[in-house]
Symmetry: none
Subunit: 418 residues, 2 copies
């Protein structure tokens, strides 16, 4: 697989105010035609830094694609430096001079001297048209290395890449349409290192796939990329490895690519024609929010009660005074009564309840910050799970809400046999 390095120049990109969207666009596009981006570098309009970036790029990759620094001003250095690094000379190209003069004439302006450098190119290069601006791009292939220089303004850059550069790259590297396919498998339950242990066999023998694990908000995302002889072969490999990973991960798999916990739960609830309701204490509305992030959730979501005060727990969820007195609001017993009230008093199929200490205050020796109880009740059973989360308030609340959704998901998969 051919490798590419992306360089973005422009001091404004280093100040934290501007995001380098060009390299994101180019990253996607190169991936699409089967060129692997091995690195991206952002430098200011500084001679040494730009030169170092190009040297690193050519050391690391077959293709270096840069955007920015093709303008007429003194701090536009990209072309000059790229040519130095590649050992080629810039010469005035008459046709480009005329093109520039036309451009200014059409705007009733005379061309400033400084613009002449936009008409200078090495004879070995291909000049890339820029219908949207004055700065032409440059394509140069030499000694098995390719340099592509594009203008900085996103519209000009994207237009030039699509119309001029992509066809040249496909020809240069004989890229027939993309062979690699990939998929993200989302897992909840094991931690990142535990997931890696569970997948040991697959990782040791990936059968033409590359695997990458990433921890995201309590989930582990497994990115599987397959590259076979052709797209169909890749697809076959991907499916085969996906199956192996599914075997290893079994119920821990939430879904694929764009799917998430909410959509997984939604699908199961609709298949089984079940209605769920939620009673929240420590998650304070977050659990209901996650469920209702999905349009159409009213088909399976009855509603939720955020019983933040003990008052509300008693009035709305029939939590008994003595339960609160003896066991406290954060207890197995209170969680169970909250979930059961949803079934018995409001008549939904499944009740889900959370109570816990999100912190930073309110923790005690026997009930520390991070202690959480999640209850799930239906007409047959009521299970309460005790959990201990670490992290700040935001983390504890998020992990509690996601774990509650995951308990619901597992309950629906097992058909309530848990």
């Amino acid at each position: 697989m051919k490798k590419a390095y992306i360089i973005s120049t422009g001091t404004e990109l280093l100040l934290g105010s501007t995001i380098d969207s060009n390299s994101v666009f180019l990253g996607k596009k190169l991936e699409d035609i089967g060129i692997r981006v091995v690195g991206k570098i952002i430098v200011g309009d500084n001679r040494d830094q730009i030169a170092r970036a190009f040297k690193l790029g050519f050391e690391s990759a077959d293709l270096v694609i840069a955007s920015g620094g093709l303008g007429p001003t003194k701090d536009d250095l990209t072309k000059e430096i790229a040519c130095q690094v590649m050992g080629v000379k810039l010469e005035i190209v008459e046709e480009e001079v005329r093109r520039l003069q036309d451009f200014f004439a059409r705007r009733r302006r005379t061309m400033p001297e400084s613009n002449i450098k936009q008409a200078m190119f090495p004879p070995e290069s291909v000049v890339l048209r820029n219908p949207l601006g004055t700065a032409p791009g440059m394509y140069l292939s030499k000694d098995g290395k390719v340099a592509v220089l594009l203008p900085g303004p996103p519209r000009e850059m994207e237009n030039m890449y699509i119309n001029e550069v992509e066809p040249l790259l496909k020809k240069e590297f004989q890229l027939e349409t993309r062979k690699a396919v990939s998929r993200i498998i989302k897992v909840l339950g094991p931690g990142e290192s535990q997931a890696e242990e569970m997948l040991e066999d697959v990782i040791d023998d990936p059968r033409g796939c590359s695997l990458a694990l990433l921890a995201v908000d309590g989930e582990v995302h497994i990115k599987v990329t397959a590259e076979g002889r052709d797209i169909n072969d890749s697809q076959r490999i991907l499916e085969r490895v996906t199956e192996k990973i599914k075997d290893k991960m079994s119920d821990n798999v939430i879904g694929y690519d764009r799917e998430n916990l909410s959509s997984a739960v939604a699908k199961l609830l609709m298949n089984k024609g079940k209605i769920v309701a939620v009673a929240e204490s420590c998650t304070g509305g977050l659990l209901a929010k996650l469920i209702t992030d999905l349009p159409g959730s009213s088909r399976y979501f009855w509603g939720s009660i955020t019983s933040y005060s003990n008052e509300a727990k008693k009035i709305l969820l029939d939590v008994k005074e003595e339960t609160l007195a003896r066991y406290g609001a954060v207890s197995k017993e209170t969680a169970a009564q909250m979930a059961q009230a949803l079934i018995h008093r409001y008549g939904v199929d499944i009740g889900l309840a959370t109570t816990g200490i999100a912190g930073p205050d309110g923790g005690t020796a026997e009930k520390p910050v991070g202690l959480v109880y999640i209850a799930l009740a239906d007409n047959n059973c009521c299970n309460v799970k005790e959990l201990h989360f670490t992290g700040n308030r935001e983390t504890v609340r998020l992990l509690t809400a996601k774990t509650a959704l995951d308990l619901l998901r597992r309950h629906l998969i097992s058909g309530g046999k848990d």
Copy 2:
């Protein structure tokens, strides 16, 4: 001026799907303490590429600050390679081993073997605490070059930079505290350009301040920076201009810097000793979530009812059958009944209710997507506001929740005389 190079590692950052927000945060922060970022580089989890990146960084700058690749898995390579490049050896640090074992013990899990590498550091280095995750960071100063290694997850990275790294950098490079002081004034009500008009006089005559307006989730943030002869002088200038802006913006000012709508409402409710409850339809729990984001919210928040189904609206909030039949769930009348039920049935001081069409589906000619009703009731009155928001489901829900909080804020300021 000292120079820094920022390295972000993680294959996912090269695929165009994930944006490298870490380097944007670090760019801003380093700039704030007077360190110039001369380059940023993004590489995958690849040994050669990471090594090249560190070499380039040390060639180009005094400080190399990297995020990502500190996890326990095989493709977490940053620390190992950084130490090779700097010529230092990794050794097991017993204290860190214990810390890791505790972390897993608290989660009732045994520590996988692979995690041990998270407890290995060169003796010359400072270990950086990570209260939010398992991966500690590393700070190493050697031969006039400084390497800082931070975890990849933004929350962990930002927390570690602010609490551990910034003080070390200030000491290392003897960065005298800056003369400039700044403040963000948060405003809700006028749009960005309207706010600019309201502030015309201040902008034309900023009295030694610089003003920058930024639109954020329906709010306008006014960043005022003052740089006088010394820190005290700057502070005086800042206060003077803040007063002028407050005069112009009056009730539209939510708060300053870290303050937000939730904290502004919390302060007012506690001052007035009022208890609020919430009834949500279209916001589906988000409004309660925003209120309970704040620790201690149980002092003024009774709870919330997310009446997503009409069923729930009737049973929990006494919304009348004929109201739903004649006016529909998304109507002035339904909103009013939802808010009033909180007062009359549950006895809180203030009831806040939302109902609307968040989309993308469910809109009609006379009730389009984005139509929202927000009701606020107390013992004296019940006001319902009709609003029309544009944007996707997420935006409509967020703007509805924030507008509801803002109505509550204004109601509390006016002492209910609205």
